[in-house]
Symmetry: C2
Subunit: 280 residues, 2 copies
């Protein structure tokens, strides 16, 4: 065998001399245009702390700065990004020789999610690990992302197949950990931090989400999710604290309307500037 045999499907059973072979092997073009400079993974371990919101907000903030953005919804069994970015309904997904064409949201943010391939958005993906991991690998290698400054990956809860595959197979620039103030949530979040540390994935820092809520009637700042302790958790686990985000009913309403890109806040922008500084 020589280099000439690479990619030939008859390679294993071929008895010809490579020099005499007349078969023209066509190189695959899938993924060949992809040039993704930074991969940022948003993880938590715990479900329901707002990984998906934080993913969408980071992406929107970066796009607003003029960066080229992609969002990979790696939560295969519980995808949120299509709703948050308002890309739902019959999409008629298409592919070119370069891979699957990712739908685009506001500001040209490219998005891929398993829900784009389902007849109904509430159809379940009842798959075991290898299939789930396979989907993530396809989202990485078989999507025509093109040129991106940042790909933000929204992880599922837990530390099982999908998080493991993302951290092992993708060239992760860094991870953002999302927590909430409840002690119970923090214990599980620490599992994700330890997982990233064990796998030598750089941790960009911790975001405490749901730090407080604002009473729509009396404007009181309510610590209904528990006493904020993000800064302390970050310190205890030896990672940086990126800041706190409130539980904002306005944000949730925008997400339910598919308009996450319309939400802006100084806290998010500060957080994102911090992230950029760390990876550049």
């Amino acid at each position: 065998m020589t280099d000439k045999c690479n990619g030939c499907s008859s390679q294993a059973n071929c008895s010809s001399e490579p020099e005499q072979c007349g078969v023209e092997v066509e190189a695959t073009l899938v993924g060949s245009r992809n040039n993704i400079r930074n991969v940022i993974v948003v993880m938590s371990g715990k479900g329901g702390v707002g990984k998906s919101s934080v993913t969408g907000l980071i992406a929107a903030s970066l796009a607003r700065m003029g960066k080229k953005l992609g969002v990979m919804d790696a939560d295969i069994t519980g995808p949120s990004q299509p709703r948050a970015f308002g890309i739902t309904g019959e999409l008629g997904m298409k592919a070119t020789d370069y891979g699957i064409i990712p739908p685009q949201a506001d500001m040209g943010i490219k998005l891929i999610s398993i829900n784009f391939f389902l007849p109904h958005e509430d159809d379940p993906i009842v798959w075991r690990g290898p299939m789930l991991a396979g989907a993530v690998n396809q989202f990485w290698g078989e999507v025509d992302w093109g040129d991106l400054d940042y790909l933000i990956v929204d992880m599922p809860p837990g530390t099982g197949d999908v998080p493991l595959t993302v951290l092992q197979s993708l060239p992760v620039t860094g991870s953002v950990i999302v927590s909430s103030p409840q002690d119970l949530a923090i214990m599980v979040v620490k599992k994700a931090i330890k997982m990233a540390q064990k796998m030598n994935i750089p941790i960009l820092g911790l975001v405490e989400n749901m730090s407080y809520a604002i009473c729509p009637k009396c404007d009181e700042k309510l610590e209904i999710f528990g006493k904020s302790q993000g800064a302390q958790v970050a310190k205890d686990t030896g990672i940086d604290f990126l800041g706190s985000l409130p539980w904002d009913t306005a944000l949730n309403a925008l997400i339910d309307q598919g308009k996450i890109t319309a939400y802006e806040s100084p806290e998010i922008n500060k957080m994102v500037e911090n992230i950029i500084r760390k990876i550049s």
Copy 2:
């Protein structure tokens, strides 16, 4: 081969006549004392909507009625039950010939969770699907549950390996679906409902958690998680509505203190009476 060969480790390569065999085969005793009359699975699809709280509250309410209870924490990568029931620290787990001895919480509630086997509660379980599913099977078959009226199973988020294994391998009496009011959560919860329906698992009904919160300052009932729509979702998906639960900071404080059994509410008791009626 005859019945006499059952359980003999040499079975596959044996050339003896069963009648002449002198090997005494010892029957395994693991799991042999288990007599579990009802298995109730608490699932959602979505993370962070309160599956674990609902699991613990149902178990405590049933135990208060004098029933014999067990709780299986099937959320292997994000276990919450040890904290909620206050069973943490060095446990020195032991086993008898009948299986692993499950630690007991208040009112004799037997509990099994992966965290009982970890040196530190925040150590991550970085496992792929087959290992995760294996743990669930061990929690079922290799734990000395003894005689139980109810085993309540706390499911992880998603519709992957662990939920699939629980629904396929355990003799599930019925499932309780937990949702929260956000549209986005409901879309994912519907995936879990469809999964259970596809697998012919009886659905006992839907619980809407986080229906509202109470402002600790002005006592206003706040729909900070979105407009309550549990009854409508239940109707749309053809399942029963079991009721709404508020976001109660008192409950969360009790969970963080390991005292979930100290929390009582008429809503929970009504819900549990409803469940009992459905399965008896």
